[in-house]
Amino acid sequence: MQKLYIVNVEGLRDLFNLLAKEKDLYAPVAIGKSSEFSKVSSFDDARIDLVNVLRSPKFQLLPKTEEMFSYDLKSGEPSTKPSSGREMVFFGVRPCDASAIRVLDTVLLGGRFIDPPYSSRRQRSLIMSVACEKFAPYCFCKDMGTGPVEGLGGDISLTGDADVYYVKPSSPQGSRFIDLHNDVFRPASKGDSDSYNRRRSAIEGSMGSSLNIKSSTEKLKGAYDDPLWSRLSETCTGCAMCSFFCPTCYCFDVFDYTEGSHCTRFRGWDSCSSCDFSRMAGGIDPRPVGEKRFRHRIFHKSLYVPETFGVSACVGCGRCVSLCPANIDVREVLSSWA
């Protein structure tokens, strides 16, 4: 999948404005006091000048609250709403967030069972990532191998350079899209390839490093009993902000909501930082205190998800760092043992 293509910004703009008529085009937008992926009707509404958006594509692909099925209390037969919707194109996804989508894909679509609600949305989504040109102080994608030019997920990755984008398909779906629109996407010439490589090096070279993730992860394996966790976690207040805004956190809780004789089963995001995440009926709880929950979150992201699913669950987007009310910086935590 190493083919490189090139497209004029103008050509891309025209293509998207056309696509917006038959598909749902999602792009980064600033809304009120926040920023998120929202439906846009025109390419120019895409705010790819923002470093990134607060609400990652996870808010669209794995909604915060969604209906699983409903049933009548007497018969109990579950019935689902038919999942429909137009095809979605997510344009302007940062490489970190595109890598995060791969993590969600691995967990929710892999293994013995598929998660149907996520699957139906994901199957009709095309993820187009756009390389970063500027970084925030909390970005560390380069250290995590998930950016700033190309991530580990998504279908197509674009790298901007003046009035063109270099285009790389990163999935069969991405290749198909490019082939379908071969009037817009031209195969790159040798000169284009060289320009792309120069551009890529320039972007990557301009980004600093915050931690050595390989070394940190290795050392973390032996750090379970380290008394240092007490100090690392003591200012954590146990809210769910890091989990909710993290683009890879997928844990959910299930709730049956009854009104009269009708019941709807919903699911929604849950956070392992919450006080009752691991609590069992009867009160037994493997992680009854904040320190254990804090340690678990770090271990789950860095070790358990890779061990179980084969992908690292942190993509270096920095949302947890910038949002944490106590400014607990995961880079500092992981570097405690490096």
Binding site: S34, T237, M241, F255, C275, S322, L323, A326
Partner: protein, 283 residues
């Protein structure tokens, strides 16, 4: 040396003395954050650690939030609003006066945090600071004067201009992600099992169902009425920047006008009961 630097030196030397003499087991203050424009809570446990303590306009957290669970004697740095929360905590039997050493710093106002993630620094005074009730805690063991308290003046005597309509409030509540950062940052929210965290969902679930977002915020506002010190920690933590302190100021004003009570005002005497508060708000 600037006022800021001198204040930091003073705080460090106070903390050093308290720790070296084992008068406290821990001193809760602020240290520099991992990014510019951010300071964060820091627990200094030894005199060798006090050099990390800072004091600046990014000291947003209400450090009294950490007191309820702590054992032993604890030193804590408080701004004026934090002090009101502390008096309320003591009045509600959550903190023993004898187990804390209060260092009150004269606060010149806190800078509003940037719009979360991809926002520029605001360089502006936080909204709740414009309604400052007290720039220095009336409760203290050690006082650190800075002379900066005079910088805090009420923007206009009426408060914050016109209040939002119910529809505007409901629209704000819809942006809430139920992360509970507001509750978890608040010293007054010390309940070990919060009725609003959805784990025993008899008030609200964890999810965004029907009118749950409005229920969540209105119930919280009722629980805050007459108890909220308006320190702004909740609002500054909120990823949606819902103007929570403005809402709690509204209910506080009601309690104050109807019952003559505001947080910390009757320190040392009887508290107001919750039914009185509910009735006052209903009026």
């Amino acid at each position: 040396m600037s006022v800021g630097a001198r204040t930091e030196e003073r705080i460090r030397s106070i903390a050093k003395e308290l720790l070296s003499r084992r008068e406290v087991d821990c001193f809760i203050g602020f240290q520099a954050g991992s990014m510019e424009g951010v300071s964060r809570p820091y627990f200094a446990r030894d005199e060798s650690e006090v050099h990390r303590l800072v004091w600046n306009r990014y000291c947003r957290n209400n450090l009294t939030r950490y007191l309820s669970g702590m054992k032993g004697k604890v030193g804590v740095l408080v701004k004026g609003c934090d002090g009101l929360a502390l008096m309320q905590l003591i009045a509600e039997n959550q903190v023993k006066r004898a187990s804390i050493h209060v260092v009150a710093v004269e606060c010149g106002g806190i800078e509003a945090p940037a719009v979360p993630y991809s926002g520029e620094p605001t360089h502006a005074l936080a909204e709740h600071c414009k309604r400052c009730r007290a720039n220095t805690s009336q409760l203290y063991d050690t006082l650190v004067e800075t002379g900066e308290g005079m910088a805090i003046k009420q923007a206009d005597a009426g408060g914050m201009g016109s209040w939002a309509s119910p529809d505007e409030w409901l629209a704000e509540f819809q942006t809430c992600t139920r992360c509970l950062a507001c509750i978890r940052s608040c010293p007054i929210c010390y309940c070990t099992e919060c009725a609003l965290n959805g784990s025993k969902p008899w008030l609200v679930s964890k999810l965004e169902l029907q009118g749950e977002l409005a229920t969540f915020h209105l119930v919280r506002a009722l629980h805050m009425a007459g108890r909220c010190s308006e320190c702004g920690a909740c609002e500054m933590a909120c990823p949606a920047r819902i103007p929570l302190t403005r809402l709690y100021h509204l209910v506080n004003k009601k309690v104050e006008s109807e019952l003559g009570y505001s947080p910390g005002s009757r320190f040392g005497s009887e508290l107001v009961g919750v039914t009185e508060v509910a009735e006052a708000i209903h009026r």
